[in-house]
Each structure stands twice: as C-alpha cells, then as structure tokens.
Amino acid sequence: MTKVTLEVNGKKFSKEVPDHTLLSVFLRDNLNLTGTHVGCDTSQCGACVVHVNGKSIKSCSTLAADIEGSKVTTIEGLAKDGRLHPMQAAFKKTHGLQCGYCTPGMVMSAVDLLQTKKNPSDQEIREWLEGNICRCTGYQNIVAAVKEAATKM
C-alpha cells in the first residue's frame, strides 16, 4: 500500500491505496469522480483523459503514486461557478456528443489543444484528437465544437 496525496479539482486528498492503483481507478473508486471513464485499458481510446499539472494525460495508464503531489483536473472540475467551461458549452452548441461516454476525455483533450495552440486548423484538430475514439459522432461536430470554443477561449 502507498499513501498518495493529490490536489484534485482544487481540493487536497490523501488515500492509502495499493501500489499498482491507476490514476483512473484512484479517481473513480477512491474519490468517486466517475466522470473519468475507462474504455479500453490499453491507452488507446482516451475516455480517461484528465489534466495533470495542466497537461492532458491518459489516466488509465498512469500510476497514481507516480504523480504524487500533482494537481489534477478532471471533467468535474472544468465548470466554474455553475457555468460551463467554453469547451463544454461549445460541445453542447454544436452537438459534439451523443452517448456521452467518450465526452469527458474528448473535452479534456480538446481544452489542452487550445492551451497549446490558439486557433488550430481542422486538420490540426483531427490530428490532436487521434488519441480519443468516438463511436457515435463521426467526429464532425467535435471538430466544430473545438473551432467554436477557439473563438471563446
């Protein structure tokens, strides 16, 4: 067992967990933050993307103990004061989600894209989101959402 301390969505948490606890498991099972989803176990689908110290990572292939002391932002921490983050609002406006399962990872990944590059082209958006699989939307409205958010962020 290892004691892991993380600041998640602005709050500090310390938990005793088995050494091999993945960040996705830590968030879901220990903190009950079930917005972070697990879709593949092989770091391919991106449903588990969260931010660690401001950068997007796949939480299903990160050991919680490995990022001891880090600041983590999950999908639950994105909206502020009851208002959707511009990326969340853009996904709603452009119908960038259907079943909602890939959505948290997709949104977290897209937010990091706009932090990295302010006004990405369609092709740049599509290439950035290569690590996030969506089976519902055909990606078109997700690309539209990122472009819409780029005008607001």
Binding site: F91, Y101, Y139
Partner: protein
C-alpha cells in the same frame, strides 16, 4: 406558439454528460458489493473434462465460485434466439442450447465457464487464475465458407447449418436470366465487425433478501426485453421480482440488445451468495464476447438488358452466426437482409438464398443497420459494375431503374409507402459536383494519384416493426412501443417511453414532440426511460424504431391527455365539449373565448370533490387524474432512402486511400431535430467508412481472435474523415401521424458501397474486398500498373 418539432434544439442531456455527471452502469457502487471475474475458455472448441474450484475458493478474499454445474442444477435457462426462421424445405431452424456458463463444451474463445466473486477486483482476478479447467481441445470450425463441410460443432445440427432459407421465386429468376443480354456477377465478403460501443458492457446486481427482489443495473438497449428473457427463459426471478435498470448507456449499435451470460449469471448468483455483485468488462472481454456484426460470404448476380434495364436478381449468401443463435442473430441475415437486397430498383424477378452456419466464433447479431448494409452492399456493387460493363453513367443506370410511383410494391416483401429517389440522386449529384469529377480526376492524375468516384442509392426498412408482420415471419414478440404521459397536479410532465436512449437524444426529441402536442414549454417535460420499475413495458431501441414507433406512442398518449382535457375544460367553462378548441396549451370556448390553460385543467383533474363554490370538474364517466398511456403498433415499416456520393484519392506508392469528399442526401420524412439527425448521419457514415477502409475482425485458423484490442482492431479516428456534406429531401411517411422515418442506421447502410465503389473506380474497375487497407490497395495498384504496361 412556434413548433418545436423541426427546430435545432440543444440537448437536455448534454449538461450532465459534459460535466461528468452521466451515470453509467460502471459508475454504480452498492454497499458491501463483491466483484465478479469470469473464467473464460481460452480455446475456440473444447470439451470441458472437469472444473476444479477448490484452490480458488481458498484464495484470499474469494466469496464464492460458481460453474456451469451449479447453474444447471438450479435450472437457470440459457440465452435465446428471438426469431424462428424456417428453411426453404419447410423445416425448422436448428438452435443449440446456449447455457449461461458452459458445462460440457466451450464453443468460442471467451465463452464463460465459471465465475469468481471476491471482496476486491484484484482478489477476484487472483481467484479466477486459480480455477483449474481441464479441456480436451477439439478442431475448431472458423471459416463460414467451410462450415458446412466441417465436423458438426453442436449435437443435432447437421453440417453446422441453422437454416437454408429462401425468399423469392427461383423459377421466375431463371426465366428473367434466360432473357438477359448480360449477367453481372460479384463475389463479396461482408467483413466481420465488432460494434465497439465506447462503454464496455457491465452489470451491477443487488438482491434484496427481504423483498426477494433482484435489481439489475446493466448496459442494455432494452431493459424490459432483458427482464422478459431473464424471467421467462432464464427463470432467474418472476418478472415482478426483477427490476432491470439501464441507466446512461455509452452506445449500443446493436451489441447491447442481447441478454448476456454475465447478466444472467450475476443476477442468479447475487441471490445465491446474498451479496451485491459488480462486473465490468475489460475491452478485450468486449471484443471476445459482445455480439459481432455482418460476416457474410455472398455470390450475387444481376440480369440486365443492353440498355441498362434490370431484369432479375439472385443472391446466394452464407451468413456466419458464430457459436450460438442470439436475439436478432437469425433474422438479421434473412428478413432484415433479403427483402432489401433488390435495393431501390424495379427488378421484376428476384430471390435471396441464405445459409446460416455455426462456427466457433463469438455470436453474430445485429450491428447498426443489421442486414440492410449487407443487402445494400450487394446490390450497389452489382449496379455499379453493371454501369461499368455496359459503359453507362453510374447515376443514369440508377435513375433508369428507380420506381416512379409510390406506394412502390417491391418484388420481394415490402410496399414502400413514400419516396422520391430521383430527387435524392439529382440533389446528391449537384451537391457533390458530380459533373466536375473528370476535371478533379485529371488533376489528381497529374499529381501521380488515382481518383475515383462512387455512388450508392439505398433504401431500408426500419422502424421495427409492425407486430403482425414480424410475428408471421417468426419473431417471438410483438414490436410495438409504449408511452405514458403523466401530467402532475402542479403542471410538470413526465413522459415515460419504452424506447431507450444510448446516444439517440430522446430526452430532447421526445420532449420536443410532447411539448408541441401539449402546448407547454419543453422545460416542463422530463423524459423517463430505462427502468422497468418506471413506466410501461417497452421493447427498447434498435432498428431505427424509437421515433417511428416509440415517438408515435408519445403523440397518441398526448392526444388522449388533450381529449380528456377537453372534456374537463368543457365542464369547467360550462359549454359542450365540441365547443372547445385546444390550441397552444389552452382550451378555448369558441363562443365566449373564455379559456383554461392545460395546467389549470390538469390541476382540476386532481380535484374531483366539491367544496364551497368549487365544483368537481370531472365529467360523469371520467376518472380523476391526468395520466394516459398508449401502445403504438405501426401499420408498416418506415422506408428512409437516399443517395450518397464519395470521392477518394489513392496514393499508388503507399496504397493509402483518402476520402476526399463525401456527400449524403437522405429522405427521413419529417425531421424532428435537424441537428440531432445530422449527428446520426455523421456517425453512421463514419461507421460505414470504418467498415469499408479500416475495420476487420480476424480469427486465426484455431479460432483465436487476433483483433481483440484497440492495438489490433482499427477503430476509425478523427483524422480518417473529411467533413461530410449532408443534404435532405422529404417525403412524409404515411404509416405514422408525424410522417417520420428512421435515421439512425442509414449512414452505416449507404456508406460502405459508396466508398468501395469509389475505390474500385479509382482502381479502374479492379475488384477489392473490404476493408480496402493500404496493403490491399497497394497490391491492386501494382497489378493495375502491370496490366496498363501490357496494354501499352
């Protein structure tokens, strides 16, 4: 009041999904729960000589281990085939037993043999490792084309043949072929796909020892159907002691229609071990055990005259059912496939012959489109080849054979109520700049690339389905849908539907419909689904049925609310009922112009007594309250149709196929929410392009699944697609009062042949099978270069 139907209303469900507040099955935890891990067969075909659970039982944290022996002793039934299909000779189909835990023989890799319950997931995994199964490995039957010549894998199923089915008239077809100028032939493989909903299957079961009720939370497209099957065939619990909840479900695409082994086993076991149980599939478990789709081997022929008229069609298909026949497994390659195989054309003589075979692979069942993509692929590949061989334009040959009169009685089964196929294709040509293609082809050629254009015109029979029709064809249930509209005393409305949303946006579209019918704001309406303890019995969501069947039940229930409201308003306003008009949420007395809002009337419906001046507004013969339900059974299927055009560019040096342009023109009748319909079409097209260019399910000759993770199975990604260009035409369906047609599957039905026709066009007519991967295309380019060199 402006109509909400037809508007691009933003989705109600998005606010929770976007903030991580969706509640999927794996998000549910119950105090004192145990974790289940299944012991699965590592062999495609093996006799189970013994199962030794003694070491597992002693493993740390293990609460219980159960095997096929215990489940058989408890007489828990197995999984079922939902449709009884008869062979051409009149004999009944052959269906092997499919126990929830295999006891004597395992028939595919991943089939569950035993289950271990433990305090933690790690302990359950550890325990499962310690279950010792002694197998005698047998030779597996894997290739569907060889199945009939191989050893029978199930007792009593000769030649591994479930049925040998015929639809149509062989003699009429022979006569038509005898008169033909030309016979066009294709040999096709409709590649096997894994549906891959992003949410892996899961279930959480809670057994209440006091009430003896089982609550099953599960990833299902149809919780009532699951309850019915588990109760009637599984014998897990009486229906009134079994509550099935399908909360937020992360995509289905057909793979979550079936009741699965794990749901039956965990429900039964929860009662046995008197502990809640949680099971969540890993992605590889989903690959191994979710029902797969397609997997047809087809030879088809089209008889044509020299001027491009279609005279006859025949289709001989071997359909792979996998190891067992499941809910829609037997109907997908027959009644969902055969009737659509003549496509959008007048073809006077036709038949489809389908031999469905068992193999040692995962069960094959409905996957987005179910039978109709296979049918459309067959006819549209033939039509395109016919155009090529006759030297005709590919759109002209289609136009020439479209029906011009509706209703259009097809040769095989369906009478298509409405459509305008010419308008759809004309619009698609215009949007795709079909006329400008040759110039674009030359430009690609100048850059050393090969450019091709492909067309496909499709129709499909969805809105599943008229009960009388489907039951006469072998369906085990009626396929109506139900709705209940509860107008609460304070004006909020709950709309219960038997359909289930797992991405389809029912919270929004059904609220739009009900808001229009009742003249109230959408915000006052909550759509409730997915819980057998709430609302009426329903058949769930598949076959593009939610709106065309379930939506109409909502409309009809709302109409009953308004009818009762009129009677009550008449009494309140002291006029005759026929003097009341209902408009925009108000009951108006025509002569006096006095009015009552529907909210006031609803409130009054809950006050049947008399006090002071207040008199009961309930007319004689009416009961208090304002709750109405409706069961809608459609008179016909719904028949969306359209034409899609795709342009691809091939790099002959790498074989890479780039989809340059994709245009889709669809006729879905009246559209409730264009934004949502566009999303459905995008998703369908993407899945179809996935089938055409990327996805393939590969078993090796021993029955091991080679493509059992996202490292090995190509899921289409954002950078595989261009921006799709969508257009619509509209002819209203006549079989329902909204005039709507299903839209969920159309994209996946139309796109595989559209893309493949474009690829084959770019390759100068060289046949190539799906998926047209870079390797295959590169080889085809080399062959083409050689034959071009020879010709020169």
């Amino acid at each position: 009041m402006a109509s909400l139907v037809g508007s691009r209303v933003e989705r109600k469900e998005d606010t929770r999904f976007l903030q991580g507040k969706g509640r999927y099955t794996a998000d549910i935890n119950i105090a004192n729960q145990t974790y289940a891990v299944f012991v699965r067969s590592p062999h495609a075909r093996a006799k189970i000589k013994s199962v030794d659970t003694s070491k597992a039982l002693k493993s740390s944290g293990v609460v219980g281990v159960l095997t096929g022996k215990e489940i058989a002793e408890d007489k828990i039934g197995g999984l079922i085939a939902g449709w009884a299909i008869r062979s051409e000779d009149g004999s009944e189909m052959k269906v092997p037993a499919n126990p929830p835990l295999a006891k004597d023989v395992a028939n595919f890799v991943g089939e569950p043999i035993a289950v271990v319950f433990a305090e933690t997931l790690d302990e359950a995994k550890e325990g499962a490792e310690k279950v010792k199964v002694d197998y005698k490995v047998l030779k597996a039957v894997v290739d569907p084309a060889e199945a009939m010549k191989s050893e029978a894998i199930h007792d009593g199923v000769d030649k591994n043949l479930c049925y040998d089915w015929l639809l149509g008239d062989r003699k009429a077809v022979d006569e038509a072929f005898a008169k033909a100028d030309k016979i066009i032939k294709v040999d096709l493989i409709n590649n096997r796909l894994v549906p891959n909903a992003m949410e892996p299957r899961a279930c959480v079961v809670d057994y209440n020892t006091a009430s003896e009720e089982i609550t099953l939370y599960t990833t299902s497209q149809n919780p009532h159907l699951s309850r019915l099957v588990m109760s009637a065939f599984g014998g897990v619990a009486p229906e009134n002691k079994l509550r099935v909840v399908a909360p937020d479900v992360g995509g289905g695409f057909g793979s979550k229609i079936n009741v699965y082994n794990e749901e039956i086993v965990c429900s039964w076991a929860s009662k046995k071990i008197e502990r809640p149980i949680k099971w969540v599939a890993e992605r590889t478990e989903s690959f191994l055990t979710d029902t797969h789709g397609r997997d047809h081997v087809t030879h088809a022929e089209l008889a044509v005259s020299n001027d491009g008229k279609f005279l006859g069609f025949k289709n001989e298909t071997i359909a792979n059912l996998g190891a067992y026949a499941r809910v829609f497994g037997t109907v997908t390659p027959t009644y969902l496939f055969g009737p659509c195989a003549t496509g959008v054309y007048v073809i006077p003589a036709a038949y489809s012959n389908v031999k469905a075979v068992y193999t040692n692979t995962a069960p094959v069942d409905a996957y987005r489109g179910a039978g109709r993509p296979e049918a459309t692929y067959t006819i549209e590949r033939l039509v395109e080849k016919a155009a090529m061989e006759l030297g005709m334009d590919k759109t002209e040959i289609r136009m020439k054979n479209f029906p011009t009169q509706f209703p259009f009685k097809q040769t095989l089964v369906h009478t298509v109520d409405s459509g305008d196929y010419v308008a759809g294709l004309e619009k698609a040509k215009q949007m795709a700049d079909y006329a400008g293609f040759e110039a674009r082809r030359k430009k690609s050629e100048a850059n050393g690339k090969l450019r091709g254009i492909g067309v496909s015109s499709y129709f499909e029979a969805c809105g599943i389905a008229p009960s009388a029709a489907v039951m006469s064809l072998g369906c085990g249930v009626g396929l109506w849908e139900s709705a209940e509209v509860r107008f609460n005393p304070t004006g909020q409305i709950s709309v219960f539907t038997g359909a289930h949303s797992h991405g389809q946006s029912h919270d929004t579209t059904f609220a739009q419909i009900a808001a229009d019918e009742l003249g109230v704001p959408m915000e006052n309406i909550d759509v409730v689904h997915g819980d057998t303890d709430k609302g009426t019995f329903g058949m769930g969501t598949y076959g593009s049925r939610s709106l065309t069947v379930g939506g109409i039940a909502i409309v009809n229930a709302c109409k009953k609310i308004v009818a009762k409201g009129k009677r009550v308003a008449a009494k309140m306003l002291e006029v005759n009922e026929d003097e009341i008009e209902f408009k925009d949420g108000e009951f108006v007395a025509l002569k006096s112009n006095k009015k009552k809002t529907i909210g006031e009337v609803a409130f009054a419906c809950y006050l049947p007594g008399q006090r002071d001046e207040m008199k009961s507004p309930i007319p004689e013969g009416d009961e208090p309250g304002l709750i109405e339900s409706s069961f809608f059974d459609p008179a016909n299927f719904s028949f969306p149709a359209g034409s899609h055009i795709c342009e691809v560019e091939i790099d002959p040096d790498t074989g890479n196929v780039k989809v340059e342009k994709y245009t889709a023109v669809d006729d879905f009748g009246r559209i409730v929410n264009p934004m949502i319909v566009e999303g459905q079409v995008h998703g369908g097209i993407a899945q179809g392009i996935g089938q055409a260019l990327h996805e393939n399910t590969q078993y090796d000759e021993t029955g091991q699944l080679m493509t059992a993770s996202y490292m090995d199975y190509t899921m289409p990604r954002a950078d595989n697609f261009p921006e799709f260009n969508l257009g619509f035409t509209c002819t209203h369906a006549t079989s329902n009062p909204l005039g709507v047609k299903g839209c969920g599957e159309a994209g996946a039905i139309a796109s595989p042949p559209t893309v493949m026709n474009a690829v084959i066009d770019a390759l100068g007519g060289q046949e190539i099978s799906m998926p047209a991967t870079a390797e295959k295309v590169w080889k085809a380019c080399k062959t083409m270069k050689k034959s071009n060199a020879k010709a020169a």
